[in-house]
Symmetry: C2
Subunit: 375 residues, 2 copies
């Protein structure tokens, strides 16, 4: 097979603070060894992709450029935020953590995959073609479409990694915030299947109803007046001592740790001014609220930890065997536990349409966009 040329979505911040989104032609040489070339047919827009796509740019400054086939969008990065992205200045960065498509060329060691529909992880998925190694793809089960496997890595593996982490670190029940998300629904299904009690924290009755519909028993609305008391009750009932927080900013994470300490002290028989001896772990894995994190740590005792959580280094530490087991579970339950619903499918050029961008950039719960570069 000859080389293949296709368009790839790129994001660049220049020294002057202008962030440009564009489609660049990229030529891939024929695959060698265990390499593959995949025609990308589906790639989801995850919140984590938006961070690289738009960086710290001010979306309100959007300006249109380029041509209909090769559109270009420009944004300004506020001066005070430039420091945070100094390391990417001048680099033309490809976007898209995961996707799925059809193998159209394969090196001699990967011929078995030719023609198969595969899920992929590894960045640069917002492109017409992607070259990668056979071990970085997972063949989808018969009958599954590219859209079914487009989001089989980030959310499914993150949800599974939460339950794995809880087990590895000796916790018996979990608290999850922003729990009605695509990821949160997967987590609830996993916890039900595995018998791990889960306390879901949401921000509306509609979100609570959505989780109850899939079998959740502990769902708390953080906007309810008696939220903190009910949180401590649910934690006392389940014994949750680990939490995963997608919000990050403000006091919600702190409230969860404090409720864990209150629940522990309800069982205490003796006073200790250093608090309970129950270890409480909060992992922050998202930034739906970009404000600083406020910890009312005097209410925690001293047995607590608040940590960042990121999937890729977690997978590296977990080791091949654990990751292989997790991937296999995702394949087995691709259209049940790990099904993603998309509210809209767009083409590669459409991703640079101002109206479309403003819509997917809002990150509304329940809305999820899929890019199909073959459109």
């Amino acid at each position: 097979m000859d080389e293949v040329t296709g368009l790839e979505l790129r994001s660049t911040v220049d020294e002057g603070g202008t962030l440009t989104l564009s489609l660049e032609p990229v030529t891939l040489s024929p695959p060698q060894g265990d390499e593959l070339i995949v025609r990308v047919e589906a790639a989801p827009i995850n919140p984590s992709d938006l961070g690289l796509l738009l960086g710290p740019a001010d979306v309100a400054t959007l300006e249109k450029g380029g041509s209909p086939d090769r559109p270009e969008l420009r944004f300004q990065v506020p001066r005070e935020r430039i420091g945070g992205v100094r390391a990417r200045l001048g680099q033309s960065l490809p976007i898209g953590n995961e996707g799925a498509g059809t193998v159209i060329a394969a090196g001699p060691e990967a011929q078995a995959l030719l023609g198969r529909t595969v899920g992929m992880m590894g960045g640069a998925m917002y492109a017409q073609y992607r070259k990668l190694r056979a071990r970085d793809v997972v063949p989808l089960p018969d009958g599954a479409k590219a859209a079914d496997g487009a989001a089989m890595f980030v959310n499914p593996l993150t949800a599974l990694s939460f339950v794995e982490t809880a087990r590895q670190e000796g916790h018996h029940a979990i608290v999850h915030t922003a729990a009605a998300s695509n990821l949160g629904q997967m987590l609830q299904k996993i916890c039900l299947a595995d018998g791990v009690p889960l306390v879901n924290v949401v921000r509306s009755e509609a979100q609570a109803a959505l989780l109850r519909d899939i079998g959740a028993t502990h769902v708390l609305d953080s906007r309810a007046e008696d939220f903190r008391r009910r949180l401590a009750d649910a934690i006392a009932e389940t014994g949750a001592t680990i939490a995963f927080d997608a919000i990050g900013g403000g006091t919600l994470g702190s409230d969860v740790v404090q409720a864990m300490e209150q629940a522990a002290n309800r069982r205490a028989t003796e006073y200790s001014r250093y608090g309970s001896n129950v270890f409480k772990q909060l992992y922050i894995y998202g930034a739906l609220d970009t404000a600083p994190t406020t910890l009312n740590r005097l209410a925690f005792g001293f047995q607590w930890s608040v940590s960042g959580f990121l999937l890729t280094p977690w997978l590296q530490k977990a080791g091949r065997e654990t990751v292989a087991r997790m991937r296999q579970r995702v394949v087995n339950e691709l259209t049940t536990t790990f099904a993603s619903r998309y509210t809209r499918t767009i083409g590669l050029a459409e991703a640079l349409d101002p109206e479309v961008l403003r819509a997917y950039e809002r990150k509304a719960t329940g809305e999820k966009y899929l890019i199909d570069p073959t459109r």
Copy 2:
């Protein structure tokens, strides 16, 4: 030997929110097995003792009662802080984490210690006599006075535990805040002896000079205008990735983690929007500032952890062998590395003198009080 009766300092909060300090007579039965009775001759007032002594009481509400021999002080606990001490309501709590004195009686298995001057840990040291087991005391070297061994546990073992923790968790250099404290000076001496680079953060030039006098090379004044830049420089130079923070409240701990991330990114060759892959650990072990902890986590990347740190559970986890090695080092270096200087020695009744209490309650750096119950 017959039973012994002596006075013991007690702190009690009643249901109405009144905190009472008093001296109560306590009778100790003759020691059995490996038990000892020690006449307490020296017990330091550590910040951690004040937490139990005064709890959340408002010192401005002090009222005097009792008699000259058996003084009593009463304080009011503000209504909004009562919830935090509900578990101690109505309990008459003894105070004083550590002390030293002379063994005046010993059970049959501990006769060798009779007449020895020993250091002790285990609470209730603000008393004329203390009964405890032989394994909870350490005989002082010949010639050492009770005052030399009075503070041989809390600060020395905490300082040593910092260096042990750094080693165990794979860090090569340490950041310490409120670094001119008694504990901070010990830590600097240990780090110099062990070749562990230490970045000291202080709040005045006088404190900086104090640390430089004992050999510190990295001393930063957090009130200097270019503090954050110099902090990142010192961290880049030393490679510090673990910090111990006595302040707790506000943004100083966050500034330290952020400086670690900045230092890591100076060495980075490739942009990652998830931040560096250098793991950064902040331990909060004190509460000189009782305000909430504010974390500007978006500047940390995702490889970080902020945790409470408390000596007693740390020692339990560390195991007998490690603790024995640490204790032996304290004995060996009792009057050098681990020497404590006291600005004033007071009697047990004097600790309940309003003027004296207001003075030691201020926790000024460089001021340290010793209680001698034989006065």
